[in-house]
């Protein structure tokens, strides 16, 4: 009797999650659309002057992407919990952190990557100064996976509860703030023509750390909230 390999299990998981996504491919675009709409609300709320909007553009794009990522986070384990797949995942013979890392990777690929690709357009809508765009993209490329990883740990903690959306936001946002500060710092430096390497390096270091630790923490949190 063969239990298959851990790699095989990862592949099966990724294939299944992508198939699920394909079944509801409309949903995959939703985070990006949501971000577009949040961005769109600001000119209404603040008035349409380009200078004004350009001044807050980078920060607002960061906040909008962060919120969109936050909202899509809830779906990470919810449906798996509701139909009992999560129990099966935990009971599988392969290392849980590895399986969870796969799940998080698919989640990032399908929710954050479209957002990342949409970011230049979003910036354009708010008259983002062109010299900031490169830095904004770099900051986003480093911070969105970081946010996915941090978020996954929090989601794993709240997964057993119903209507955990709000609670999740409360747990996650304080952890997101440092990431936001570094990303916004890089953009601000770019806007003022200062060097941007330092905050980006900090983000990169945090990302490497999270890549190693978050799946482990996520697995531990999941075990706690299932029991």
């Amino acid at each position: 009797m063969s239990h298959g390999t851990a790699l095989g299990a990862c592949r099966a998981l990724i294939v299944r999650d992508l198939a699920l996504l394909w079944r509801r491919r409309g949903d995959a675009l939703n985070p990006a659309l949501f971000a577009v709409m949040v961005i769109m609300l600001f000119p209404f709320a603040l008035g349409p002057e380009p200078q004004m909007l350009g001044r807050i553009a980078a920060g607002t794009v960061l906040v909008a992407l962060l919120l969109a990522g936050l909202l899509s986070l809830d779906a990470l384990f919810r449906s798996d919990l509701e139909d009992g797949s999560l129990e099966q995942l935990v009971l599988s013979p392969h290392p849980l952190p590895l399986l969870l890392a796969c799940k998080i990777a698919v989640h990032w690929l399908t929710t954050a990557l479209p957002l990342l690709l949409a970011a230049p357009l979003l910036g354009e809508l708010l008259f983002l100064p062109p010299q900031v765009l490169g830095t904004l993209m770099a900051a986003l490329a480093l911070s969105t996976p970081l946010l996915s990883l941090i978020g996954a740990v929090c989601v794993a903690l709240t997964v057993g509860m119903r209507r955990s959306g709000m609670l999740l936001a409360l747990l996650v946002l304080p952890l997101y703030v440092p990431v936001l500060i570094f990303a916004a710092g890089a953009c601000d430096a770019a806007q003022q023509g200062l060097p941007v390497a330092a905050p980006l390096l900090w983000l990169g270091a945090a990302l490497v750390l999270a890549l190693v630790l978050a799946p482990l923490a996520c697995a531990a949190a999941l075990r706690i909230s299932l029991s």
Binding site: G26, D27, N30, L33, M40, P43, F44, P48
Partner: protein, 252 residues
Amino acid sequence: MNPLVLWFHKLGSPPYFYRLAGRLLPWLWGLAAIGIAAGLYGGLVLAPPDYQQSDAFRIIYIHVPSAWMSLFIYFFMAVNGFIALVWRIKLSEILAMAAAPVGAAFTFICLATGSLWGKPMWGTWWTWDARLTSELVLLFLYLGVIGLYHAIEDRRQAARAAAFLALIGIVNLPIVHFSVKWWNTLHQGSTVKLFGPSLIDSRMLWPLLIMAVATKFAFAASLLSRARVDLLELESGKDWARQIALAEETSA
């Protein structure tokens, strides 16, 4: 029975509609192609340059017909949605849902060409004025209708839910159209009037009107070819659909 009512009844029968649409399609595509070719020739070659905007004004021949279509198609979709909700006529459900992607396409063209026109004229791709914004909201409404339709498993229930949403969203149409009157905006006011003299040279006007008609034909063609396929999918349990599938196989 009144022959008109009888014909209407027959139109409601899926196989009849499928065959009729199949016969109409080449004509509609042909008329659309001829109209678009003629309109664009008139607009891009024959019409004189504008004294203010020089040649940039020629974008009007794409922008304005698309803008009109974006409103017209939404109205068409809402009317069919209303019929579908009240009388539960299958054909209306299908027509309403087939219209949505075409409407979204024209709305997108209007936004993109308006944006391309705005850069040289206003110096910016985008501003947040009432007309541009309400047109963007229109695009989101189309996307919402399409998204809702595809999020529900049962096709007919999905069509009714999406039709309901389309009806709610119809309040946006007058906002798009009258926004230039209600708020003072960057965007141009009405230059073409249905009643009374237009404020535009007739050599510039006629290609615009031809384009307006040609895009209607393009819409009709796209609509019918979508409706045909949707009908085939919805009725795939029925005999006539099976026969078509088998016939296509032998011909293919």
